[in-house]
Amino acid sequence: MSALIEEDYITEEGEFVINIGPQHPSTHGVLHIKAWLDGETIKKVQPHLGYIHRSIEKMSESLSYRNFIFVTSRMDYISAHINNEACALAVEKGLQIEAPPRAQVIRILMAELTRLASHQLWWGATGLDLGAITPFFHAFREREAIITIMENTCGARLTQNYMVPGGVMYDLHPDFQKETKAIVKQVKEKLGEYEDLLTGNVIFEQRTKGVGYISKEDAISYGCSGPTARASGVSCDVRKWFPYDGYDKVVFDEVLDTGGDCYARYMVRMREMVQCCDIIDQLIDNIPEGDFQAKTKNVIKLPKGEFYQRVETARGELGVYLVSDGAASPYRIKYRSPNFSNLSALEHMAVGGKIGDLVAIMATLDLVIPDIDR
């Protein structure tokens, strides 16, 4: 990457520190980044966290196995379904029960719809961060349509508390299939429009190409996962590596890119949207009949031991490490959140670049701050 300018005009006693602080449009929440600057070049970046640390792990230790699931949809609220699915699967792994086939397919459909809606929100926010206002409104047109579909089935727009240990809470809305087919067709048509708006834009390419590069080894060493890691060539899609809920029966390919810079991360997410549409198309017509929830006791008690369940959220690999000592509430829960590790790579990508590059890097890292602070 461009090394610092040869001779350093700044005499050392004056260090120029700015706070890209908790209340900042580009941090998508309350992330506080302290940046040491030399002119516009970044010398050092230090994220300060904790401004939305709501002690979710301490709280989960006092909730029952049915309740703690819905706290996680407040962590990464843009992929709420997938978070709840991770916790429901962890409890099912403890009870050694399987969700019935209909519930599994409904879970995959809801997860892929969430991933689609999440990438659309990310796409609008990236445009907004890099100075383009129009993508925000185009993205939210499809996102609102998807959210209305989910609202008809689950009853809530953003934090849909729909996944329970053993399957899903209710059955699908009668015209769920018709609406989902319509929205997937609309998204496929409009993706061309998304491409015209941002991908081909010269300013966007100059702002993102070659900016925030991270190599494959560094991405693995920093623990990056999801589109951020796949843009550097790291194959880490949990749906392929450790399939859950019948993902092995679905035909889709893992989107990989070797660019490693902001533009590669952008392209990986754009191509992932197409994959989501393909998965939904495969499953929407043959949702198996049968009950949508396996029988579970009212008060769930997991046997003594520990269980680890991984899922692929829109931002990366969310892991639920659940330690139980046989009581009605978990002994210890650790949420391995994707944004926490993706953020740790921010300093590696941002040093040496300009301030504008820092904003572009944070936009393509797709951070959700309560998922970092938990």
Partner: protein
């Protein structure tokens, strides 16, 4: 479930202000000022967690809060009239929120959006770092329950705030606050 009772009765920190009255000329002037103010409330870009996404939906084309004059969301408190506290406020964030509120020019208003800002919401029990209600930090004008509240609820709260501003005394002598 033995909840210690005396801890639950947290005192209600807000005050209630009676609305004022006055002569024809003064009320007419007040109405003009309040009409102008209530229809151009600029919110501060401030969202801490999930409610911020519903605020974005409200700002977007489908629910479109610019029909009521809220469209211009300013990034700095210097040019904002309204803070929509969208999301949980934790103890580390409280001084920052207080500082933002203090740096706003008068007249300034606060909408507490979501259950977290009213009473700590889902994070009321067993959390050590959450401020149980944002009115411990700054005075609040309108509360909206919901986790997260729907965009229509946010629009309703804004219209309620506009009604409240329309009755604000400016030249009229405000009655003494009955303590």
């Amino acid at each position: 479930m033995d909840i210690k009772d005396e801890k639950l009765k947290l005192e209600f920190p807000g005050q209630v202000h009676p609305s004022a009255d006055g002569g024809i000329l003064v009320t007419k002037l007040d109405e003009v000022i309040n009409w102008a103010r209530s229809n151009s409330l600029w919110p501060l870009v401030f969202g801490t967690s999930c409610c911020a996404i519903e605020m974005m939906s409200a700002a977007d084309a489908k629910y479109d809060w610019s029909r009521f004059g809220f469209e211009v969301a300013r990034a700095t408190p210097r040019q904002a009239d309204l803070i929509i506290v969208a999301g949980t406020i934790v103890m580390k964030m409280a001084p920052v929120l207080k500082r933002l509120y203090d740096q706003m020019p008068e007249p300034k208003y606060v909408i507490a959006m979501g259950a977290c800002t009213i009473s700590g919401g889902p994070f009321f029990y067993n959390t050590y770092s959450v401020v149980k209600g944002v009115d411990h930090v700054i005075p609040v004008d309108v509360y909206i329950p919901g986790c997260p509240p729907r965009p229509e609820a946010l629009l309703h709260a804004m219209i309620t705030l506009q009604e409240k501003i329309k009755h604000e005394p400016y030249f009229r002598k405000a009655k003494e606050d009955t303590k």
